[in-house]
């Protein structure tokens, strides 16, 4: 597809996100999955293993022991049920945000790749770049006065943040989906809607699913920031720990966030591995 702002290849796209984004977006640097189903299965299992390893650090006994062993003194640790509660709320906020983000991102991606709306492409590119450049914590801070204390500013920040990889992923998926097949479909007399349904979407689906995975992991990792605005997430123990100089709380919150991100990534890798 010539003459348009080219999208960087998937790997560098993910890589370029990290430096200017919040630190938690390290999740986007996960190795780009190889094409083979076997490679994805192994990567998925690795992620699940990392999730289990991170979850071990959340156990009150383990967290307390590690903090003490690091010479930080004996600190109280949260019991597991408190963390489970934050974890569930964290997962819920993520899901509530990724749903609309997926809808907006994929729909907009489809819209700007329609031949009739080609002139919207540069604008969409600029918007997603801008959405990505603003750190979520800033969105949370800006939305806080309007949306108030609680999960709403966090959800808004996550939606804005996650639209980007989804929109870009959808556009890239559709544009790289066999131009020959698309041309043939058009020449055979399929309407644009039929070309989309019969050719473009089925071919783009694996790449869109991949973008969805990246967005979900991004959202899981970033949702912790929401604790600043009163959203009950796994960031909450981190904030409390920072305020009270309790490193065990911080370790528990960080490890639990990581465990959840690894879990989401591992499960999606295994779920999507059947794709060609």
């Amino acid at each position: 597809m010539t003459g348009r702002a080219p999208l960087p290849p998937a790997e560098s796209r993910h890589g370029s996100v990290a430096p200017r984004a919040a630190p938690v977006t390290d999740a986007t640097r996960l190795p780009a999955p190889a094409g083979g189903g076997e490679a994805r299965r192994r990567l998925g299992l690795l992620m699940l293993a990392l999730a289990v390893a991170s979850a071990l650090l959340v156990l009150p006994g383990v967290a307390g022991f590690l903090v003490a062993a690091a010479g930080l003194g004996a600190k109280a640790a949260y019991p597991l049920d408190r963390l489970l509660g934050w974890g569930l709320s964290h997962a819920l906020i993520t899901a509530v945000a990724v749903g609309p983000a997926a809808f907006i991102g994929i729909a907009a991606g489809i819209a700007v790749t329609r031949p009739a709306s080609r002139e919207w492409r540069p604008l969409a590119d600029r918007l997603v770049a801008a959405a990505q450049a603003v750190p979520p914590v800033v969105v949370v801070a800006l939305a806080f006065p309007v949306l108030g204390f609680g999960p709403a500013p966090t959800v808004l920040a996550l939606v804005i943040y996650c639209v980007m990889p989804l929109l870009r992923g959808t556009v890239a998926a559709i544009e790289t989906a066999s131009p020959d097949a698309r041309d043939a479909a058009r020449a055979m007399g399929l309407t644009s809607a039929q070309v989309l349904r019969e050719v473009e979407l089925p071919l783009a689906l694996p790449v869109i699913a991949e973008a969805l995975r990246v967005a979900l992991v991004l959202a899981v990792a970033t949702a912790a920031v929401g604790a600043l605005a009163g959203a009950s997430t796994l960031g909450t123990p981190i904030i409390v720990g920072l305020q009270n100089q309790n490193e065990a709380y911080i370790l528990q919150g960080a490890a639990a966030t990581a465990a959840l991100a690894f879990l989401a990534d591992g499960l999606l890798l295994l779920l999507l591995r059947a794709r060609p």
Binding site: S178, D180, R182, A185, R186, A187, E198, V199, L203
Partner: protein, 349 residues
């Protein structure tokens, strides 16, 4: 069907239309303007068609008539506008000036998708849908047209047979096909809804020379069996001569010559056309237009045999290969005459 066929149109007996367009449609020779008498309309007619891409003229003032049953080959160097001309016929490209008529109807007012569904199209890269099986690929247009499932199934089976693909291939994905098989599937898919007009843009461009030759023979056979009107684009002059019942030579967006291959390759013709078809060796290409039976002499000789419906090109090749200057002409019923090298040289058209 082999090289025995002098002009690629096949013996009249197997033609669905029952007629050889080269002989029964002398009108097809003319580079036509508007239909003067309103008689049966040409399958495809271009009247003063010009196409511009960003201010550059891709086609300029093209007049062309392709009669029903023709295998019209558009030939010319790259950039001559031949693909653009083809794409005008199903509105993949809209002209800035002029009119395109398909089956007598001006297509400017027709809905593009409906028009395209009524015309088969084989693109150069085949463009099979990688996520669909061979059968699903072939069934695309019939399914969209809402044919009953059973009829679609029958049609797919019939088309696989027509393009000589094993029925077992029906369940394969395009990635599992050879280049030649993919081309055949592309052709079957284009023919699926039984369009009377077929557009082919460099259909054999992506396969090796041997497969190419086989596919050309197959296309001539299919053209003869189905009687479709075919417009085919190629940059290969030899392919054009081998396939065409009607040749259209393009250069820089203009039709420089159109007519029967045997007429266009006349030594007295246009210099560009002569160069395109091999310059001084064009006479060798012309040998394919005359059958042995047209120049043979009575009287039997003891010599290697050749069929009466073989072309002079094959006869000459045979003589050279066997280092003889005389062949015995023998049909299924035995020898019928002889062909001498000097007769071949002196009497061919």
């Amino acid at each position: 069907m082999s090289g025995a066929d002098p002009n690629g149109s096949g013996p009249a007996a197997v033609r669905v239309s029952g007629a050889d367009p080269e002989r029964s449609h002398p009108a097809a020779v003319r580079v036509s303007g508007p239909d003067p008498d309103g008689s049966s309309p040409a399958a495809v007619r271009l009247e003063g068609v010009s196409v511009a891409f960003g201010g550059v003229m891709a086609l300029e003032d093209v007049d062309l008539a392709v009669e029903a049953g023709d295998l019209a080959v558009l030939v010319g160097p790259s950039g001559s506008g031949k693909s653009t001309l083809l794409r005008c016929v199903n509105r993949l490209v809209d002209p800035v000036r002029g009119r395109v008529r398909v089956r007598g109807r001006d297509i400017a007012g027709m809905e593009p998708a409906a028009l395209r569904r009524s015309i088969g199209y084989v693109i150069q890269s085949v463009g099979l849908f990688p996520h669909r099986t061979v059968a699903q690929n072939i069934a695309t247009v019939p399914r969209i047209l809402g044919w009953p499932k059973a009829r679609v199934g029958e049609r797919v089976a019939a088309l696989l047979a027509l393009v000589r693909l094993e029925p077992e291939l029906a369940g394969r994905r395009p990635a599992e096909l050879s280049g030649g098989q993919a081309q055949r599937v592309g052709l079957a898919r284009a023919l699926a809804a039984d369009p009377d007009i077929l557009l082919m843009d460099e259909p054999f461009g992506a396969v090796d020379p041997i497969v190419r030759r086989t596919l050309r023979t197959e296309l001539r056979r299919i053209h003869a069996e189905t009687g479709k009107t075919i417009l085919l684009v190629t940059h290969d002059p030899v392919e054009a001569l081998e396939l065409a019942t009607r040749l259209v030579v393009l250069r820089e967006g203009r039709v420089v010559a159109a007519g029967r291959p045997v007429d266009l390759t006349d030594a007295a013709g246009d210099a560009f056309v002569r160069d395109l078809f091999g310059g001084d060796t064009m006479a060798l290409h012309r040998l394919r237009f005359t059958p042995v039976s047209a120049v043979m002499e009575p009287g039997l000789v003891d010599a290697p045999a050749i069929a009466p419906d073989a072309t002079l090109r094959e006869a000459l090749a045979r003589m050279i290969a066997l280092r003889v200057t005389r062949l015995s002409v023998a049909g299924a019923a035995g020898p019928v005459g002889s062909l001498a090298l000097d007769a071949l040289v002196e009497r061919h058209r």
